[in-house]
Point group: C2
Chain length 256, copies 2
């Protein structure tokens, strides 16, 4: 029975997509059957996994409108054991469509049901907002993984995110928990990274993974080749960090 | 009569807020009367200009709901000549409220009217989405300024943004133009930055400003002091670049 993890943070550019792609790849590499759902109209997770536009005719938008099933929408990737439900810019229409729909917060959860017996993990990459797409992901999820860039503005948004998670827990999904917070783009050459990291660990303690993702240019080069960093350059510091993160995430799942 | 510039890009973390704050500061430093409207529920522009929560009781949300006037909502900053209409997380409710309102795309434009005679420039910082808040900013604006991070995913989103601007021009605001595209977080140590810059200049030619904003840690340190980089460290490469950008933006405005 698949566990569903949503990768969310309304602050933009903090490494949600990069974490979704590389964590999914590292988990698949350990033999888990993984489905990555691209719930962002930007479609970056689909691009980063090399899904061409021609293979995106059925995607997350059709899932939310219940026009297609998840097993029909899922496409294979170059990575054995990792499938993806792609997205296109059509999905940006979903935010408006959803407002007047019945069950508007539960549509993704319902749509993913047929997949829970086929996969071990389902990861959902969220857009940089707390609108109806992210709400759908939080209602569908068993737990959240929060990428946090080691920058001041990213820290500022954390309390807003935590309050929103609390509201989702009260109104829609009582068992929703935070699996963990992962520090991203850590640059050991500047003090700000260290200050933010200390601040977050001070507030959230063990919720913060021991693994820290370093700023590493190889990570940002990989998407232009349609490959996860783990395939593009598995020896770089970024890839090694995501392998470590996958190990930590799976250990937390086992110890639940 | 004020010119209204919206600073927009649905890709997250590309430097919209950083550009809004530092460009507004540099323009005010040349004697222009500038109003910065924080249209992002994250409220980063308000924080980056040192506006404490106590001074945010009236802000962009009240403007959109027509519960307060813009001259009442505008607060002064430490920078002479620069005022700001702050935002709070309440603004995230506006996306949903707006859907069922009359005139839902024109509310910000109407709300800013009393300010056009009081300021020379009105800048609007947009959230990382193409929802109703960004639509309101694009309808209110005379022109757009598009920050573009020198990264692959940021490049991918550009065509979606350009199509959206075209649709806004056709349906809502026929005189809307792109004043320019500014390359941000340019890192001369890595090839990716140069490749993205060449690619964008190849496609958009003169629309791209000559000024390029370098990646500079002093820029990301400034917000934790509630100051624009220009006040925190006016000698750093980032501040100098924003001073150059302001000169280029003002020249383009004069030559219109
Ligand atoms: N550890 C890292 N080192 C260097 N670059 C990184 C790292 N992680 C992500 N990036 C780059 O930073 C940019 C932002 O990352 P990404 O797109 O994954 O963030 P996001 O949170 O998904 O953004 P959005 O809010 O737009 O969805 C991308 O260009 C990505 O390639
Ligand atoms: N030139 C630069 N050099 C170094 N850091 C920068 C630069 N420009 C912006 N930053 C930092 O990068 C992060 C993202 O920038 P910023 O928040 O301005 O982007 P944004 O597009 O407004 O994000 P969002 O999409 O969440 O609104 C911030 O932490 C900021 O301090
Ligand atoms: Mg993303
Ligand atoms: Mg911003």
């Amino acid at each position: 029975h698949a566990r569903i993890l949503a990768i969310a943070n309304q602050k933009g550019g903090v490494g949600k997509t990069t974490t979704a792609i590389n964590l999914a790849t590292a988990m698949a590499a350990t033999g888990q059957r993984v489905l990555l759902v691209d719930a962002d109209p930007q479609g970056n997770a689909s691009t980063g996994l090399g899904i061409p536009p021609a293979k995106r005719t059925i995607g997350t938008y059709e899932l939310i409108l219940a026009e297609a099933g998840v097993l029909e929408a899922a496409v294979t990737t170059e990575i054995p054991g990792l499938d993806v439900v792609p997205s296109t810019v059509d999905l940006s229409g979903a935010e408006l469509d959803l407002v007047t729909m019945d069950n508007r917060a539960h549509r993704l959860r319902d749509a993913l049901q047929p997949a829970v017996s086929q996969y071990d993990y389902i990861l959902i990459d969220c857009p940089p907002s707390l609108g109806l797409l992210t709400l759908n992901a939080m209602v569908a999820a068993d737990a959240l993984l929060v990428p946090l860039q080691c920058e001041f503005y990213a820290l500022e948004g954390l309390s807003h995110l935590l309050r929103t998670i609390e509201r989702v827990r009260e109104s829609f999904n009582p068992t929703l928990e935070i699996q963990g917070v992962v520090l991203t783009m850590f640059d050991k050459r500047n003090n700000l990274s260290g200050q933010v990291a200390d601040d977050v660990r001070g507030h959230l303690g063990d919720k913060v993974y021991a693994t820290v993702i370093p700023r590493n240019v190889r990570i940002s080069e990989a998407p232009s080749f349609g490959k996860p960093a783990l395939l593009y350059d598995h020896t770089c510091s970024g890839s090694q960090a995501y392998i470590d993160l996958a190990r930590e995430v799976l250990r937390r799942e086992r110890d639940r």
